[in-house]
């Protein structure tokens, strides 16, 4: 198999490849900027102006407004950079996991614990 042939789909899994990296560049660049406390504060002061500054596409901006992780992924977001966005709102990985899987946070945490049994 050559690299240009599509790999078999892994359900519910989206390896962050060149296609996603291209689609998500502006979104990920904005999220990368959230390493800086000043930038996080600037975003919170005026989210729309901050998104304009980074040139987010409309689907990216809509996904940011909705804080919808699956939409953010579809818009090319990478998990590591999106985590910096989630951190602004104090969301942890179980909040994010619960949202993506349609579970409550308690159900999601119970699923993790069960995997260790």
């Amino acid at each position: 198999m050559t690299a240009s042939q599509p790999l078999p789909q892994i359900p519910g899994t989206y390896p962050f490849d060149g296609e996603l990296a291209r689609r998500g560049y502006a979104l990920n660049k904005m999220c990368f900027s959230f390493n800086s406390a000043n930038n996080r504060a600037e975003f919170l002061r005026d989210e729309e102006a901050y998104m304009d500054k980074y040139g987010l596409t409309e689907p990216q901006a809509a996904a940011i407004r909705a804080k919808n992780v699956l939409q953010l992924l579809d818009a090319g977001g990478n998990a590591y950079y999106l985590a910096k966005f989630a951190g602004i709102f104090g969301l942890d990985m179980q909040d994010i996991g619960a949202q993506q899987t349609g579970m409550s946070k308690e159900q999601f945490k119970a699923m993790l614990v069960a995997a260790g049994q």
Partner: protein
Amino acid sequence: MATLIGGLGTSHVPAIGGAIHKGLQQEAYWKPFFDGYPPVQRWLAEKKPDVVVILYNDHGLNFFLDKMPTFAVGAAEVYNNADEGWGIPTLPPFKGNVDLSWHIINHLVDKEFDITTCQEMLVDHACTMPLKLFWPEGACPVTMVPICINTVQFPLPKPERVYALGRAVGEAIASWDSDQKVAVIASGGLSHQLEGERAGFLNKEFDLQFMESLVSNPEWATQFSNHELVEKTGSQGIELLMWLAMRASLAVGSTPGVRKVHSHYHIPISNTAAGLIALEKF
């Protein structure tokens, strides 16, 4: 020549840094994780490495998608941690070992690894957290050489390529003209997946098989493609590539065997299957 004493593998999760900072090691959630570390700490206290080579993956602190090296080797006198945006405390600077950095760089390029060299490099929790887990008290007693392997943007380097890199790092350490003792640390994994409808995926059976393979059959994981490893271990479980490179670094010299000093496995820490292993080279 320098002495390569062995290798260590540990998971990294940002929340661990918060737990250390808040002193939560004995709390019910954290105790089963932190209880894995004292035997390894004692082994390190006995062996007293002077330098560690740390194989890790950056999570968007030093590297962004504008420039994403597949393999990057640090060559700095000092490595600074910095705000990663998710609220964990920033750690004091760590001392580099520039002599070993350049010896490794020269050897890797000679072996046809087209690496990126970094005389300035911010190091994130993946690089710094193992040092706090292995040496929890006081100042860090070792200097370091960080080696970052891209697991952010696919295509990632193939498992057999990562294994070959690890071997070359081991050769470089073994041929370093120094009386210092060196350990190799892998930071990453084991199974976990942060994103998508499959978020929360864990695979205990595979993880335990992988950890066992490191003792007896170090090239076992190279039979899989990265795509297969993502399927078996989750999108971020692919960080086990660090462990593969660490083990490969020990498979050099006339006595390429290892003795397992200690291993530990606990699910979950955050969304991650937390693994720990210490291997002594003999």
